[in-house]
């Protein structure tokens, strides 16, 4: 799981253009939205695309994102359980 969390952090930095942020600066348990990384609805769209492109997970209901994108750790757990690639 630690490996997946680190990979996910790197992917988030890449897709969201957080060029100056280092993976170790992201707290895996901190909220991704508003506080923590301060992400917004546009970023949520990027994360949905990331899950589909990199892990073959297609969210049927966008509102699921609220729960799944709670933190990097929660996201990693969801990916672990639902990935198709």
């Amino acid at each position: 799981m630690e490996e997946l969390i680190l990979k996910l952090k790197k992917e988030i930095i890449e897709v969201l253009n957080l060029e100056d942020v280092k993976p170790e600066e992201i707290d895996a348990n901190a909220p991704l939205f508003v506080d923590g990384l301060g992400l917004d609805s546009i970023d949520a769209l990027e994360l949905i695309v990331l899950m589909e492109k990199n892990y073959g997970i297609k969210l049927k209901d966008a509102s699921q994102g609220k729960e799944i994108f709670k933190s990097v750790a929660v996201m990693a757990e969801y990916i672990q359980a639902n990935r198709t690639k």
């Binding site: 957080l18 546009i42 492109k53």
Partner: protein, 203 residues
Amino acid sequence: MKIRKYCKIDREFVVIDGALYPFPKEEGTHFLTALYRALSVDYPKFHKMDTLSKLGFLASELIFREEDENILMFDNMAIICFNRSSSLEYDTKFQDSIEAQNYYPSPSVFVYTLPNIVTGEIAIRNKLYGETSFYITPHFDAVQMVRTVENAFQDRDTQSVLAAWIEAYEETQEVLMMWVEQGKDGGMPFLAENINTLYNKSF
């Protein structure tokens, strides 16, 4: 019109009202990120901004950081910016991203393919409700700057103006931001001659 406060940032130095603002440069870290960290600002959105927005954001932070928030909120401040290269840095980045195979248009890139996003970033951060505008000019033009700010003061609402030249393209990363008010006392006159001096002065 007078300049109440100004800030100048480029790759070499940061200046507030004529005084150098020293900050530790970090090896392998962009100077704007080092400055953001030195200011101890907690605004994670900074990391997502394009260079143009980072320059404008940091200059406005340096100008407003010791000011009374209540004054700013009730002050109907306009934001008027100028530059030469518009948002070309991110326009190019976006074009490159959509030319790649299996591309998808990345919102985090194309959201910055407009230069006036920086005015929005500053307005949101500081709760400024005045007009905002961004002009593209062939070169730094202090006369045009004065004329445009003068026009902004013609309406009944604008009490002050945050006027800035913000350029971010290739090796050039610079901002000269001025807090401009009406009246003559208590500040440097907002004249083309003075603006040119501030822009060209090395510290």
